[in-house]
Protein backbone atom coordinates (compact mmCIF):
# COMPACT_ATOMS: atom_id res chain seq x y z
CA UNK A 1 0.00 0.00 0.00
CA UNK A 2 2.80 2.39 0.91
CA UNK A 3 4.35 1.85 -2.52
CA UNK A 4 1.16 2.97 -4.27
CA UNK A 5 0.61 5.89 -1.92
CA UNK A 6 4.16 7.16 -2.32
CA UNK A 7 4.62 6.65 -6.03
CA UNK A 8 1.41 6.34 -8.05
CA UNK A 9 1.23 9.73 -9.79
CA UNK A 10 2.98 11.59 -7.03
CA UNK A 11 3.90 15.19 -7.91
CA UNK A 12 7.39 14.03 -8.74
CA UNK A 13 6.12 11.29 -11.07
CA UNK A 14 3.63 13.61 -12.78
CA UNK A 15 6.32 16.15 -13.59
CA UNK A 16 8.70 13.41 -14.75
CA UNK A 17 6.04 12.05 -17.10
CA UNK A 18 5.22 15.48 -18.52
CA UNK A 19 8.90 16.04 -19.20
CA UNK A 20 9.03 12.93 -21.41
CA UNK A 21 5.95 13.83 -23.44
CA UNK A 22 3.30 11.85 -21.60
CA UNK A 23 -0.05 13.05 -20.28
CA UNK A 24 -0.41 11.53 -16.82
CA UNK A 25 -3.86 10.48 -15.67
CA UNK A 26 -3.78 13.00 -12.84
CA UNK A 27 -6.28 15.69 -11.93
CA UNK A 28 -5.78 19.31 -13.09
CA UNK A 29 -2.68 19.09 -15.27
CA UNK A 30 -3.40 21.62 -18.01
CA UNK A 31 -1.20 24.31 -16.45
CA UNK A 32 1.49 21.76 -15.67
CA UNK A 33 1.63 20.83 -19.36
CA UNK A 34 2.57 24.43 -20.17
CA UNK A 35 5.07 24.48 -17.33
CA UNK A 36 6.77 21.11 -17.75
CA UNK A 37 5.55 19.50 -20.97
CA UNK A 38 8.21 18.50 -23.49
CA UNK A 39 5.65 18.26 -26.32
CA UNK A 40 2.93 20.70 -25.24
CA UNK A 41 1.01 20.67 -28.54
CA UNK A 42 0.75 16.90 -28.51
CA UNK A 43 0.07 16.80 -24.77
CA UNK A 44 -2.72 19.38 -25.00
CA UNK A 45 -4.23 17.45 -27.96
CA UNK A 46 -4.37 14.30 -25.85
CA UNK A 47 -5.57 16.09 -22.72
CA UNK A 48 -8.33 17.91 -24.64
CA UNK A 49 -9.38 14.70 -26.39
CA UNK A 50 -9.92 13.11 -22.99
CA UNK A 51 -11.50 16.16 -21.34
CA UNK A 52 -13.97 16.71 -24.21
CA UNK A 53 -15.03 13.11 -24.67
CA UNK A 54 -18.58 12.29 -23.56
CA UNK A 55 -17.66 8.60 -23.49
CA UNK A 56 -14.39 6.71 -23.10
CA UNK A 57 -14.85 3.25 -24.54
CA UNK A 58 -12.55 0.79 -22.75
Amino acid sequence: MQFLKDEALSDQQVIAQLKVGQVPAAAGISDLIDQYGSAPDFQHFVNNLVQDAPNFQL
Binding site: F3, A8, A39, L58
Partner: protein
Protein backbone atom coordinates in the same frame (compact mmCIF):
# COMPACT_ATOMS: atom_id res chain seq x y z
CA UNK B 1 40.37 -9.63 -11.56
CA UNK B 2 40.65 -6.66 -9.21
CA UNK B 3 37.61 -5.06 -10.87
CA UNK B 4 35.68 -8.28 -10.50
CA UNK B 5 36.58 -8.43 -6.81
CA UNK B 6 35.52 -4.82 -6.28
CA UNK B 7 32.23 -5.45 -8.09
CA UNK B 8 31.63 -8.55 -5.98
CA UNK B 9 32.26 -6.67 -2.74
CA UNK B 10 30.01 -3.84 -3.90
CA UNK B 11 27.25 -6.31 -4.69
CA UNK B 12 27.56 -7.96 -1.29
CA UNK B 13 27.55 -4.60 0.46
CA UNK B 14 24.44 -3.55 -1.48
CA UNK B 15 22.83 -6.80 -0.51
CA UNK B 16 23.85 -6.33 3.08
CA UNK B 17 22.11 -2.97 2.99
CA UNK B 18 18.93 -4.95 2.49
CA UNK B 19 19.34 -6.26 5.96
CA UNK B 20 17.37 -8.88 7.72
CA UNK B 21 13.84 -7.70 8.27
CA UNK B 22 13.63 -5.72 5.05
CA UNK B 23 10.31 -6.38 3.37
CA UNK B 24 10.49 -6.97 -0.36
CA UNK B 25 7.74 -5.91 -2.71
CA UNK B 26 7.58 -7.70 -6.04
CA UNK B 27 6.20 -5.47 -8.77
CA UNK B 28 5.33 -6.85 -12.20
CA UNK B 29 4.77 -4.70 -15.26
CA UNK B 30 5.19 -4.65 -19.00
CA UNK B 31 7.90 -2.96 -21.03
CA UNK B 32 6.08 -0.09 -22.67
CA UNK B 33 9.09 1.14 -24.60
CA UNK B 34 12.73 0.41 -24.06
CA UNK B 35 13.58 3.91 -22.87
CA UNK B 36 10.49 4.62 -20.75
CA UNK B 37 11.77 5.21 -17.24
CA UNK B 38 8.43 5.84 -15.53
CA UNK B 39 8.14 2.44 -13.88
CA UNK B 40 11.82 2.06 -12.92
CA UNK B 41 11.74 5.63 -11.58
CA UNK B 42 8.86 4.76 -9.26
CA UNK B 43 10.74 1.82 -7.81
CA UNK B 44 14.05 3.66 -7.50
CA UNK B 45 12.38 6.61 -5.82
CA UNK B 46 10.56 4.34 -3.39
CA UNK B 47 13.69 2.40 -2.51
CA UNK B 48 15.57 5.63 -1.88
CA UNK B 49 12.93 6.71 0.63
CA UNK B 50 12.59 3.48 2.58
CA UNK B 51 15.19 1.45 4.42
CA UNK B 52 12.76 -1.13 5.70
CA UNK B 53 11.14 -1.95 2.35
CA UNK B 54 12.61 -2.78 -1.04
CA UNK B 55 10.65 -2.91 -4.29
CA UNK B 56 11.80 -5.19 -7.11
CA UNK B 57 10.49 -4.42 -10.58
CA UNK B 58 10.21 -7.16 -13.18
CA UNK B 59 9.13 -6.11 -16.65
CA UNK B 60 7.91 -8.35 -19.45
CA UNK B 61 6.89 -7.95 -23.05
CA UNK B 62 3.21 -7.08 -23.31
CA UNK B 63 1.63 -10.28 -24.62
CA UNK B 64 3.75 -12.75 -22.58
CA UNK B 65 3.04 -10.70 -19.45
CA UNK B 66 -0.70 -11.20 -19.74
CA UNK B 67 -0.28 -14.96 -19.99
CA UNK B 68 2.25 -15.09 -17.15
CA UNK B 69 -0.03 -13.10 -14.86
CA UNK B 70 -3.02 -15.33 -15.57
CA UNK B 71 -1.01 -18.44 -14.70
CA UNK B 72 0.63 -16.89 -11.62
CA UNK B 73 -2.60 -15.51 -10.20
CA UNK B 74 -4.39 -18.78 -10.82
CA UNK B 75 -1.73 -20.56 -8.77
CA UNK B 76 -1.63 -17.87 -6.05
CA UNK B 77 1.92 -17.10 -7.15
CA UNK B 78 1.27 -13.54 -8.27
CA UNK B 79 3.45 -10.56 -7.37
CA UNK B 80 2.59 -8.15 -4.56
CA UNK B 81 1.79 -5.39 -7.03
CA UNK B 82 0.72 -6.00 -10.61
CA UNK B 83 0.30 -3.81 -13.66
CA UNK B 84 -3.00 -3.72 -15.53
CA UNK B 85 -5.40 -1.91 -17.83
CA UNK B 86 -8.44 -1.64 -15.58
CA UNK B 87 -11.81 -2.57 -17.06
CA UNK B 88 -12.82 -6.13 -17.85
CA UNK B 89 -9.43 -7.77 -17.35
CA UNK B 90 -9.10 -6.35 -13.85
CA UNK B 91 -12.67 -7.30 -13.04
CA UNK B 92 -11.93 -10.95 -13.82
CA UNK B 93 -9.22 -10.94 -11.14
CA UNK B 94 -11.51 -9.04 -8.76
CA UNK B 95 -14.31 -11.57 -9.30
CA UNK B 96 -11.83 -14.36 -8.55
CA UNK B 97 -10.98 -12.70 -5.22
CA UNK B 98 -7.37 -11.98 -6.21
CA UNK B 99 -7.28 -8.20 -5.78
CA UNK B 100 -7.06 -6.09 -2.64
CA UNK B 101 -9.78 -3.47 -2.10
CA UNK B 102 -8.10 -0.04 -1.93
CA UNK B 103 -11.28 1.91 -1.10
CA UNK B 104 -10.84 2.22 2.69
CA UNK B 105 -7.23 3.39 2.33
CA UNK B 106 -8.09 5.94 -0.35
CA UNK B 107 -11.06 7.27 1.62
CA UNK B 108 -8.88 7.58 4.70
CA UNK B 109 -6.43 9.76 2.78
CA UNK B 110 -8.40 12.33 0.72
CA UNK B 111 -5.20 14.02 -0.46
CA UNK B 112 -4.02 10.76 -2.02
CA UNK B 113 -7.41 10.07 -3.59
CA UNK B 114 -7.63 13.61 -5.02
CA UNK B 115 -4.60 12.94 -7.25
CA UNK B 116 -6.80 10.86 -9.53
CA UNK B 117 -9.73 12.05 -11.65
CA UNK B 118 -12.93 10.22 -10.76
CA UNK B 119 -13.32 9.19 -14.41
CA UNK B 120 -9.98 7.38 -14.26
CA UNK B 121 -10.70 5.65 -10.95
CA UNK B 122 -14.01 4.55 -12.49
CA UNK B 123 -12.05 2.24 -14.77
CA UNK B 124 -10.89 0.30 -11.72
CA UNK B 125 -14.08 0.50 -9.66
CA UNK B 126 -16.50 -2.41 -9.40
CA UNK B 127 -19.55 -2.49 -7.15
CA UNK B 128 -18.39 0.79 -5.62
CA UNK B 129 -14.98 -0.56 -4.63
CA UNK B 130 -11.68 0.74 -6.04
CA UNK B 131 -9.17 -1.97 -6.93
CA UNK B 132 -6.35 -0.04 -8.60
CA UNK B 133 -4.80 3.40 -8.95
CA UNK B 134 -3.44 4.90 -12.17
CA UNK B 135 0.31 5.10 -12.57
CA UNK B 136 0.95 6.67 -15.92
CA UNK B 137 -0.56 8.47 -18.87
CA UNK B 138 -4.08 8.66 -20.22
CA UNK B 139 -4.18 6.46 -23.28
CA UNK B 140 -6.82 7.40 -25.80
CA UNK B 141 -6.47 5.93 -29.28
CA UNK B 142 -6.21 8.24 -32.28
CA UNK B 143 -4.51 8.53 -35.63
CA UNK B 144 -0.86 9.35 -36.13
CA UNK B 145 0.04 10.48 -39.64
CA UNK B 146 3.06 11.32 -41.74
CA UNK B 147 2.65 14.99 -42.66
CA UNK B 148 5.19 14.75 -45.47
CA UNK B 149 3.17 12.04 -47.22
CA UNK B 150 -0.07 13.94 -46.72
CA UNK B 151 1.51 17.05 -48.26
CA UNK B 152 3.14 15.11 -51.09
CA UNK B 153 -0.14 13.52 -52.19
CA UNK B 154 -2.43 16.46 -51.38
CA UNK B 155 -4.40 14.61 -48.71
CA UNK B 156 -6.25 16.52 -45.98
CA UNK B 157 -6.81 15.19 -42.48
CA UNK B 158 -9.91 12.94 -42.72
CA UNK B 159 -12.93 14.25 -40.84
CA UNK B 160 -15.31 11.46 -41.91
CA UNK B 161 -15.09 7.77 -42.76
CA UNK B 162 -15.61 8.64 -46.43
CA UNK B 163 -12.65 11.04 -46.21
CA UNK B 164 -10.57 8.23 -44.74
CA UNK B 165 -11.53 5.81 -47.51
CA UNK B 166 -10.66 8.47 -50.12
CA UNK B 167 -7.25 8.92 -48.48
CA UNK B 168 -6.76 5.15 -48.50
CA UNK B 169 -7.34 5.06 -52.25
CA UNK B 170 -4.93 7.94 -52.88
CA UNK B 171 -2.11 6.34 -50.92
CA UNK B 172 -2.73 2.84 -52.25
CA UNK B 173 -2.71 4.16 -55.83
CA UNK B 174 0.60 5.88 -55.06
CA UNK B 175 2.14 2.65 -53.75
CA UNK B 176 2.21 3.79 -50.13
CA UNK B 177 0.62 1.66 -47.43
CA UNK B 178 -2.30 3.81 -46.26
CA UNK B 179 -2.42 2.53 -42.67
CA UNK B 180 0.12 0.57 -40.61
CA UNK B 181 -1.37 -2.17 -38.43
CA UNK B 182 0.14 -4.74 -36.07
CA UNK B 183 -2.56 -7.24 -36.98
CA UNK B 184 -0.83 -10.30 -35.51
CA UNK B 185 -1.17 -8.84 -32.02
CA UNK B 186 -4.97 -8.77 -32.42
CA UNK B 187 -5.62 -6.02 -29.87
CA UNK B 188 -4.72 -3.30 -32.39
CA UNK B 189 -7.40 -4.79 -34.68
CA UNK B 190 -9.98 -4.35 -31.93
CA UNK B 191 -9.39 -0.60 -31.81
CA UNK B 192 -11.16 -0.39 -35.17
CA UNK B 193 -14.09 -2.39 -33.85
CA UNK B 194 -14.34 -0.27 -30.69
CA UNK B 195 -14.36 3.01 -32.57
CA UNK B 196 -16.66 2.01 -35.40
CA UNK B 197 -19.26 0.38 -33.15
CA UNK B 198 -19.30 3.48 -30.97
CA UNK B 199 -19.47 5.88 -33.92
CA UNK B 200 -22.33 3.91 -35.47
CA UNK B 201 -24.35 2.84 -32.44
CA UNK B 202 -23.07 4.94 -29.54
CA UNK B 203 -21.87 3.54 -26.19
CA UNK B 204 -25.02 1.48 -25.69
CA UNK B 205 -24.03 -0.97 -28.42
CA UNK B 206 -20.92 -2.04 -26.51
CA UNK B 207 -22.60 -1.80 -23.13
CA UNK B 208 -25.23 -4.26 -24.34
CA UNK B 209 -22.52 -6.67 -25.45
CA UNK B 210 -20.60 -6.28 -22.19
CA UNK B 211 -23.71 -6.99 -20.14
CA UNK B 212 -24.45 -10.11 -22.13
CA UNK B 213 -27.65 -8.87 -23.69
CA UNK B 214 -29.02 -11.38 -26.17
CA UNK B 215 -28.29 -10.47 -29.79
CA UNK B 216 -25.99 -7.59 -28.86
CA UNK B 217 -23.05 -8.92 -30.89
CA UNK B 218 -25.22 -9.17 -34.00
CA UNK B 219 -26.83 -5.76 -33.60
CA UNK B 220 -26.87 -3.34 -36.50
CA UNK B 221 -23.94 -1.37 -35.04
CA UNK B 222 -21.68 -4.45 -34.97
CA UNK B 223 -22.76 -5.68 -38.39
CA UNK B 224 -22.20 -2.31 -39.99
CA UNK B 225 -18.88 -1.76 -38.18
CA UNK B 226 -17.54 -5.08 -39.37
CA UNK B 227 -18.78 -4.40 -42.89
CA UNK B 228 -16.81 -1.13 -42.91
CA UNK B 229 -13.71 -2.95 -41.66
CA UNK B 230 -14.11 -5.51 -44.46
CA UNK B 231 -14.43 -2.66 -46.97
CA UNK B 232 -11.24 -1.11 -45.60
CA UNK B 233 -9.30 -4.37 -45.89
CA UNK B 234 -10.59 -4.98 -49.42
CA UNK B 235 -9.51 -1.46 -50.39
CA UNK B 236 -5.95 -2.29 -49.31
CA UNK B 237 -6.18 -0.04 -46.29
CA UNK B 238 -3.42 -1.81 -44.36
CA UNK B 239 0.14 -2.64 -45.33
CA UNK B 240 0.79 -5.89 -47.14
CA UNK B 241 1.33 -8.62 -44.56
CA UNK B 242 -0.39 -6.74 -41.75
CA UNK B 243 -1.75 -10.05 -40.45
CA UNK B 244 1.75 -11.20 -39.53
CA UNK B 245 3.02 -7.87 -38.16
CA UNK B 246 3.23 -7.68 -34.37
CA UNK B 247 2.79 -4.46 -32.44
CA UNK B 248 5.54 -5.37 -29.97
CA UNK B 249 8.03 -5.24 -32.84
CA UNK B 250 7.28 -1.52 -33.29
CA UNK B 251 7.14 -2.23 -37.02
CA UNK B 252 3.91 -0.22 -37.53
CA UNK B 253 5.56 2.90 -36.08
CA UNK B 254 8.63 2.30 -38.23
CA UNK B 255 6.49 2.10 -41.36
CA UNK B 256 5.05 5.50 -40.46
CA UNK B 257 8.23 7.41 -39.71
CA UNK B 258 10.14 5.89 -42.63
CA UNK B 259 7.46 7.05 -45.07
CA UNK B 260 6.26 3.58 -46.03
CA UNK B 261 2.84 4.07 -44.39
CA UNK B 262 0.80 7.24 -44.12
CA UNK B 263 -1.22 6.61 -40.94
CA UNK B 264 -1.45 4.45 -37.86
CA UNK B 265 -4.33 4.10 -35.41
CA UNK B 266 -2.76 3.61 -31.99
CA UNK B 267 -2.77 4.73 -28.36
CA UNK B 268 -1.04 7.79 -26.96
CA UNK B 269 1.96 5.69 -25.91
CA UNK B 270 3.00 5.39 -29.56
CA UNK B 271 4.23 8.97 -29.47
CA UNK B 272 7.08 7.94 -27.18
CA UNK B 273 7.94 5.00 -29.40
CA UNK B 274 8.17 7.24 -32.46
CA UNK B 275 9.95 10.08 -30.66
CA UNK B 276 12.60 7.71 -29.33
CA UNK B 277 13.12 5.81 -32.56
CA UNK B 278 12.98 8.81 -34.91
CA UNK B 279 13.59 12.01 -32.92
CA UNK B 280 14.23 14.12 -36.01
CA UNK B 281 10.92 13.02 -37.53
CA UNK B 282 9.15 14.50 -34.50
CA UNK B 283 11.48 17.47 -34.06
CA UNK B 284 10.98 18.50 -37.69
CA UNK B 285 7.19 18.43 -37.26
CA UNK B 286 6.60 15.56 -39.67
CA UNK B 287 4.35 13.74 -37.18
CA UNK B 288 0.67 14.73 -37.04
CA UNK B 289 -2.28 13.46 -35.02
CA UNK B 290 -6.05 13.51 -35.52
CA UNK B 291 -9.12 12.06 -33.87
CA UNK B 292 -10.99 9.05 -35.27
CA UNK B 293 -13.31 10.35 -38.02
CA UNK B 294 -17.08 10.61 -37.77
CA UNK B 295 -19.20 7.98 -39.47
CA UNK B 296 -22.02 9.48 -41.46
CA UNK B 297 -25.50 8.53 -40.22
CA UNK B 298 -24.02 7.06 -37.06
CA UNK B 299 -25.71 7.87 -33.76
CA UNK B 300 -22.46 7.91 -31.75
CA UNK B 301 -20.86 11.19 -30.72
CA UNK B 302 -17.75 11.89 -32.87
CA UNK B 303 -16.05 13.18 -29.70
CA UNK B 304 -16.26 9.77 -28.04
CA UNK B 305 -12.89 8.11 -27.65
CA UNK B 306 -11.66 4.56 -27.26
CA UNK B 307 -8.58 3.24 -25.58
CA UNK B 308 -7.29 2.75 -22.06
CA UNK B 309 -8.00 5.27 -19.36
CA UNK B 310 -4.50 4.59 -18.06
CA UNK B 311 -2.43 1.73 -16.75
CA UNK B 312 -2.90 0.84 -13.12
CA UNK B 313 -1.21 -0.89 -10.26
CA UNK B 314 -3.22 -3.23 -8.06
CA UNK B 315 -2.28 -5.18 -4.97
CA UNK B 316 -2.61 -8.93 -5.08
CA UNK B 317 -4.92 -10.11 -2.33
CA UNK B 318 -3.17 -13.37 -1.64
CA UNK B 319 0.42 -13.18 -2.75
CA UNK B 320 2.71 -16.13 -2.30
CA UNK B 321 3.51 -15.23 1.27
CA UNK B 322 4.59 -12.23 3.28
CA UNK B 323 8.21 -12.06 2.26
CA UNK B 324 11.13 -10.96 4.33
CA UNK B 325 14.55 -10.68 2.85
CA UNK B 326 16.77 -12.87 5.00
CA UNK B 327 19.91 -13.15 2.96
CA UNK B 328 21.94 -10.68 0.99
CA UNK B 329 22.31 -13.41 -1.62
CA UNK B 330 18.59 -13.51 -2.39
CA UNK B 331 19.04 -11.01 -5.18
CA UNK B 332 16.22 -9.49 -7.17
CA UNK B 333 15.21 -11.13 -10.39
CA UNK B 334 16.67 -9.88 -13.59
CA UNK B 335 14.57 -7.28 -15.31
CA UNK B 336 13.85 -8.01 -18.97
Amino acid sequence: MRRLFVALVATLLAGAALAQGTKTIDVWAIIQQSTDQTLPNMVNDFNAKHNDMHANLTQYQNDPYKQKLIVAMGADQGPDVFFGWGGGTLKEYVDAGKVFDLTPALNADPQWKARYPASVLAGATFDGKIYAVPINNVQPVFFYYNKQLFDQYGVSVPKTWDDLMAAVKTFRDAGVAPIALGGASKWPDLMWEEYLVDRIGGPQAFNDAASGKAGAWSSEAFIKANTLIQDLVKAGGFQNGFESTTQDSNAPAALLYTGRAAMELMGSWEYGTIANAAPDFVKNDHLGVFAFPAVQAGSGDPKDIAGNLANYYSITRSPRSPRTRTSPCSSSRTRR
